[in-house]
């Protein structure tokens, strides 16, 4: 057999093994203290003009695989991919998709979730929040590093709904978790965990447990506005509404719903090794 054919065979087996292992995580509905607890990721990017790796419909399918009940698709200063993902998920009965936007202003980055039209980035944070609220959405401070704090002045902090307290940055920089805590301490805001998913790594690595009445968009937005969220940060520390944190601590189901940090089983390893060998063979042999 020629090296090229061998490489093709290895790739075919790698894709077959990987596809077999590509099953959605089971996530039966969780009810705690009379609330339906939904796992949500409010910060994801698609490949449509927002430097993501997956299409809007690909994000929906990946959210399902990661056991997420809801996501916000947050295009950079645009909402078209959010609209597409929202439409697609409705068609297939997938997770709840909030149409969103990551407003990128030189002074601040802000997630607008549950909106219908693009919010201009050429305005102050306070005015952007007012526009988000006018559309019925929620405003979340995105990865509020110290460089963005000045962008959130007193007027903005008064009306801000939530802030990311768990973001992949907390695993990159020791100071990031403390920075996000200090930002959240400036005003009473809901705690949010988001993966800022661009296609690299795991969607929902950081996620928000939303204590809602049901899994509708409106119920999720209402719950965040009422600060009914719990987030697990670095080293498993819980953040959010004190009563709900207590409830969550007494219920193992939320901890066990956290994403696994495992490299996977034998099918994953086989897919990786055979895949790399196959690609290398096609490229070099």
């Amino acid at each position: 057999m020629s090296p090229r054919l061998l490489s093709l065979a290895a790739l075919t087996l790698a894709i077959a093994a990987g596809t077999l292992a590509d099953r959605p995580r089971p996530h039966p509905p969780v009810t705690v203290g009379g609330h339906r607890v939904l796992a949500a990721d409010f910060h994801t990017h698609s490949s449509m003009w927002s430097d993501g790796g997956l299409t809007p419909w690909g994000l929906v399918l990946e959210a399902e695989r990661q056991g997420l009940d809801a996501i916000a698709i947050t295009g950079h200063n645009e909402t078209l991919d959010g609209q597409l993902g929202h439409w697609f998920s409705k068609r297939i009965g997938g997770p709840t998709v909030l149409r969103g936007e990551e407003i990128l202003n030189p002074a601040y980055h802000m997630i607008a979730a549950g909106i219908t039209e693009t919010v201009s980035f050429q305005q102050s944070a306070a005015r952007a929040i007012a526009e988000i609220h006018r559309q019925g959405g929620i405003a979340i401070a995105a990865h509020p590093e110290p460089g963005f704090w000045a962008g959130y002045d007193a007027a903005a902090m008064q009306t801000l709904d939530a802030a990311e307290i768990c973001h992949p940055m907390i695993y990159q920089r020791d100071a990031a978790q403390r920075d996000f805590e200090r930002f959240a301490a400036r005003a009473p805001v809901a705690a949010i965990g988001s993966s800022d998913f661009h296609g690299l790594g795991q969607m929902g690595l950081c996620r928000t447990y939303v204590f809602a009445s049901d899994n509708s968009e409106q119920a999720i937005l209402d719950a965040v506005r009422a600060h009914r969220t719990v987030v697990f940060g670095r080293d498993g520390q819980a953040y959010g509404d004190a009563e709900l944190v207590k409830l969550a601590a007494g219920d193992r189901r939320l901890r066990s719903a956290e994403p696994s940090n495992s490299r996977g089983g034998w099918l994953d390893w086989f897919s990786r090794i055979a895949g790399i060998a196959g690609l290398a063979g096609l490229l070099f042999a």
């Binding site: 790796g53 695993y171 994403p259």
Partner: protein, 197 residues
């Protein structure tokens, strides 16, 4: 040894030899752009899930279809401007995409790195590693320029010998379009943010 390997080792000699090979038509023009898309789809699948899955390979290929598309358009513009043309457009496309070999090697190394990472390490890449990857991209871009320069010299030669102009035109059209598409509406606030913050 594959044609890509030959291009990596001796670009001028490889292009001279490959130009003499027979073959024309849509498959010759399509095979290497499709291979590039397949490899990109594999990279997306590895990065997102740590394995190869049909769903993610297809989605990644759809997501990044703009890369070969803009490469094709930019090559077509240069090709049209430079008669006489020693090879057909289909053959020019095939050879031009063979010059993507440095990028393919980089992508292979990138997925090899991902294959030993945990999901958390892959999502939150340690900053020194992130910087190393960025620097390695610069090295690959320089290597790719060197190979593409040989492509324009050997495959689409100019009487005045100024192949660097063709390369520059291709890069300006192809790369700026691709970057604008990928980073989209966020390009300007993002640049301004990095400068003024």
């Amino acid at each position: 040894m594959s044609n890509e390997t030959r291009v990596l080792i001796d670009p001028a000699g490889a292009f001279r030899q490959l130009m003499r090979e027979p073959g024309d038509g849509w498959w010759i023009a399509a095979r290497r752009p499709l291979f590039l898309l397949f490899v990109i789809g594999c990279v997306v699948s590895f990065q997102t899930s740590g394995r190869l899955t049909a769903r993610l390979i297809v989605d990644g290929a759809v997501s990044f279809a703009f890369i070969p598309l803009f490469e094709l358009v930019s090559l077509a513009i240069v090709y049209r401007r430079r008669p006489p043309r020693p090879v057909s457009f289909a053959r020019a496309v095939d050879l031009f995409f063979a010059a993507n070999a440095p990028w393919l090697v980089w992508m292979l190394a990138f997925v090899a790195l991902r294959s030993v990472q945990t999901p958390r390490q892959a999502t939150a890449l340690p900053l020194p590693l992130w910087r190393t990857l960025e620097l390695s991209l610069l090295a690959v871009a320089a290597w790719s320029i060197y190979i593409d320069l040989h492509f324009f010299r050997e495959v689409l030669p100019r009487a005045d010998g100024r192949s660097a102009r063709d390369l520059m035109l291709q890069r300006v059209v192809g790369w700026s379009s691709a970057l604008l598409y990928f980073f989209g509406l966020a390009t300007w606030p993002e640049i301004a943010g990095r400068i003024f913050r």
